[in-house]
Symmetry: C2
Subunit: 186 residues, 2 copies
């Protein structure tokens, strides 16, 4: 099911979510985290940290497999500065994604940054590039999902190592295969 | 900037959002609506109706152009039955999107259905197809965005007729061109 553009391995993706408000809007950040994981990102850096949310996502990853993790960060500027690859700030004000993608295809790893309504303006300067997934107001959940999908396609089934639960795709209804005993993550 | 797969015009897309809870979780439905609009859908059917939310999205469409609208529906089953094209229920339990997309490319219009946590099980039977954007738990915002992007690509600039505000893409910072006088929607 994996869809890769171009030749060679696609870059691995980490996501940095800025402007999370612990205790106030867990669902949108939860959607960012779940979408990032489902599309094959490796981790979500979350500023400010939210251990409760990280725990809920860890539960999902334990059940459904793979290595995704939520990493709380107090100093997001350091996360951006120390990242070993291009830092792509997703914003409606940036360059069209179609123009930027070819330059990213050869990278080993990419950090995608999404904010909420009040993203610190510094990020426009600190990012390697500011990239628009459409030049219209929309959703950081949608932007990060489309960005990762364009870069990597949907993940191969082999991504979900150690899964306790696996879906058996159906034309109608739901079918889930549950492992007999919990397995450790490989 | 438009990216079309295959030859000919891509199908137009309407979205049906089930399980909205007016007054309780406006933001997730708002994100579904904004993502659908930004990716080029024509309308969001919303069940149950939420005039306040529809009004906020109408404000966005008035400022930023195009014809997107939120249509409240009391009887979502009728919306599904009367839709003149394939009805695609987006669910992690369905058939892989890669397998389904080629069959949709020749359609004139497609209805994408997304639910919340508690989607009525009837929809699995009423839909033409149940389709998975990745076989992992994630986000209806992400699923609908990736689905439309795969089907149509990002919208051409000509989509946003009558816009009062247009972004001028920038490598750094924000630039918006504001029309001198409000224009009617064409």
């Amino acid at each position: 099911m994996a869809r890769r553009r171009g030749s060679g391995a696609a870059p691995s993706v980490s996501v940095l979510r800025l402007g999370h408000r612990p205790g106030r809007d867990p669902r949108l950040t939860t959607h960012v985290a779940l979408a990032a994981r489902a599309l094959g990102a490796e981790r979500l850096f979350l500023h400010p940290p939210d251990p409760a949310l990280a725990g809920r996502i860890a539960d999902v990853a334990r059940d459904w497999g793979g290595r995704f993790e939520v990493v709380g960060v107090d100093d997001w500027r350091r996360t951006v500065r120390q990242f070993d690859g291009p830092v792509i700030h997703l914003t409606m004000y940036g360059e069209p994604i179609d123009r930027v993608l070819p330059a990213l295809a050869g990278e080993k790893r990419v950090l995608a940054v999404v904010g909420g309504a009040k993203v610190p303006s510094e990020i426009y300067r600190l990012a390697s590039r500011n990239v628009a997934v459409g030049d219209q107001p929309h959703s950081e959940v949608a932007a990060v999902a489309v960005f990762i999908d364009r870069l990597r396609g949907t993940p191969a089934a082999s991504t979900w190592t150690g899964a306790r639960r696996r879906i058996v795709p159906q034309a109608r209804g739901k079918r889930v295969r549950v492992a007999n005993a919990p397995r450790g993550r490989s």
